[in-house]
Symmetry: C2
Amino acid sequence: MTINGSLLIAGSQKRGTAGEFSGVEAISGKSLPISFGGASPDDVEAAAAQAWEAFASYRETDLETRARFLETIAEEIEAIGDELVVRAMAETGLARGRLEGERARTTGQLRLFAKEVRAGRFQELRFDAGDPSRKPVPKPDLRLRNIPVGPVAVFGASNFPLAFSAAGGDTASSLAAGCPVVVKAHSAHPGTSELVGRAVQRAVASAGLHPGTFSLLFDTGFEVGQSLVADPRIRAVGFTGSRRGGTALMDIASRRKQPIPVYAEMSSINPVILFPGALKSRAADIAASFVSSLVLGAGQFCTNPGLILAVGNEDLDAFIAKAAELLPGVGPQAMLTPSIAKAYSEGVARLQRHPEVRAVAAGKSGSEFEGTAALFETSADAFLAHHELQDEVFGAAGLVVRCSDLAQLEQVLDSLEGQLTIALHIAGEDEPEARRLVPKLEMLAGRLLVNGFGTGVEVSPAMVHGGPYPATADGRSTSVGTLAIYRFLRPVSYQDFTSALLPDALR
Amino acid sequence: MTINGSLLIAGSQKRGTAGEFSGVEAISGKSLPISFGGASPDDVEAAAAQAWEAFASYRETDLETRARFLETIAEEIEAIGDELVVRAMAETGLARGRLEGERARTTGQLRLFAKEVRAGRFQELRFDAGDPSRKPVPKPDLRLRNIPVGPVAVFGASNFPLAFSAAGGDTASSLAAGCPVVVKAHSAHPGTSELVGRAVQRAVASAGLHPGTFSLLFDTGFEVGQSLVADPRIRAVGFTGSRRGGTALMDIASRRKQPIPVYAEMSSINPVILFPGALKSRAADIAASFVSSLVLGAGQFCTNPGLILAVGNEDLDAFIAKAAELLPGVGPQAMLTPSIAKAYSEGVARLQRHPEVRAVAAGKSGSEFEGTAALFETSADAFLAHHELQDEVFGAAGLVVRCSDLAQLEQVLDSLEGQLTIALHIAGEDEPEARRLVPKLEMLAGRLLVNGFGTGVEVSPAMVHGGPYPATADGRSTSVGTLAIYRFLRPVSYQDFTSALLPDALR
């Protein structure tokens, strides 16, 4: 395989001329070999025009062709071999095991969507037969199906170089829906993106699809992404990243002549509620699982457990004591990029300086490119008074909020913004109280889980990786699991169509 | 029954104190007896607070209770008897037959949603069993369901005093989804709204529901509606009305701390494509059906056929000649309100003055409160050059666009904004050309129909009354038919829940 820093536009490769940048070795901050050229306005124009042109034929592909195409992408990614993992390790600082797992997740996701496409339920075919003899007016023949919305702009995420990037969940669900994709690669892993992008290009070619079905662009700033979202031929956006980035794209999309949906997954601190019975019976065990979840992947998960809510008593003290015992044994971990490492250490410093926050414990510290796990504690009164304590610190930092009782814990819940996940740790005796809270929690998050942590996000028909704003831009959707395909579809009704005119699926 | 001009807030009635206004007899412009008091900020606050409080219990109602409630609303509306039709006739100027039909549509709609609720498919229950022995990590138990989004603000529409007003499609689908409703009544038919609102209030009471499940507010300006959309307890908006009104609400909703979806059905000119074969074989018949559709209900339908596209030849001349022969026989019709009548006559005057537009024919003229049907003609060149010719003229005005050939007709299609409906009139010989155009038309409209006009909107599981912006704010949805319920739902995933904690439906 070759990485040469090219833009991949509709089946061809082209050196971008709008500035250049290099991949950066996460652990050292040093530039990796090969520089990447940024896309010019003409390149964006070409990718969008080709995607629009491809849409005409790609949307009409039969389900088997489309499913096979998704499977071929998976095979082509596997065929890259170890080069992909090695490059991703260098660019992201993530460990081999994690990246091999993420590769399997990515190909599994593509294959799951292939299955979903073959099953065809997403088409939502509906038939309501006419009745010419109905009074007072004849009943028309009505049929309905979902059609793809059009080309989708997908923004690669820094923290999942495979599963939420060039051929990640947004790309897989867009392609499954029948939408061509233009990827804005994340500058945190350009080489990984190019390798995967080339795999998709090969799959497009071997499926005999219009080459505009897939393009991948690099950007040295924000212009490429902004231009894509503003382009009239782009009809939806998939984004995973910061709240500032996501809301900026939402603004652009809403100011278009024809506004389009932005599915932005942005910000979540994923509250964990430790109920009294659970703490009483197994504070130390929960603390151990919590620390594992907190530091997994240097805490760089959207579902990282950043907020622990509990009633303050000796059982919570035991939980904190156990976490404080374990954290110092956690080594420093390379973060995805130098700027993420910097933002994390600034976030931790803000908590350290905060007059109402106490530092509980920290992991071992390392270089400026590594993150040091950190746990803090505050009171519910302080948390309620200081809204900035709700800000996500992206990385392995957690904040325990000590509540006076369950009523105050509920007040804290009432103060929270929308979340991706909320975890409940309970024992049998906690069930009545937990059950009472569930309706409130449903309004706050897309996924609720019991006696676990949200960091594992199963790719499943029953998964919701989404949640009320600002967890995502649109709480009616998910970006993981088969339901994600519905983001890129809209219904059309056909009235009294002749058989010759009907789409095949509705005949 | 009593109309006394009261606000209906959560089971009680209350005289509004923020200004007052009267219903207006559409045909005469004269005030009808009984004045209505506008809602104050405190009234809006009370309605929203009560709706939020009611949401806690209403969302948990079992399907049978909810279905029965919807049916009871239908029964209570029927029980009002002729007073409802008489009042609606006075306020809207619509004919008895039309309003009796609309009442049947409204109650039928409520009963259809009752059926949809009982069927329960909208809950989207999904089960993905766990596997504790899976390697490398155990597979969690995942279950999913849709939950209601929260209280919905519904804006009554001027042109459907029953079917899209206090207990119309938006209210029915919100209540079916499990969302309490606060209606902002349209000032064009306040008495009709109060009568229906009281019917809903009675149904709430007899179902034993929290009274906050339904409120109805009057407004002398725009403040009540704007405050409702901005209120943090309101979680979605249903609106049918003008583009200016709809986009104003979209702006408010997007600037909230937590943005919410606005389902606004706004503006459509509903292109009708007359293919050459169809015109050759039955120009006069099509013209007759067209005129009937154009003038139905004084043209005050969102699906009114406002734009006719055809290749200019002697067959189109025959179509125009027949329409010109029929239109002068069309009498003047009272419009819904004096201001709608004024806006219509101004819109017609703009077309009459337009240098590139020729007046083809007009109906009989009447008073200032009545609309005169009017048909105009222009060239495709002029239509493409003058974007203002795409503006909707709400009422019985149509514009024929004479194209040089099918290629130019396609250019005109490419210039159009999103639409609710597009009608194709074809003969057998037109099918290949029509079939070629269908994919383009699917991207332009929510409903395509063959050899008919869009003015009848069947309440059906296969109906889409929606379409790309600006036809609606959100082209992924419909405001008519059972799919409308999905506007007010969002998915939640439950991971490793204990049986005691699971919602009943997921056990």
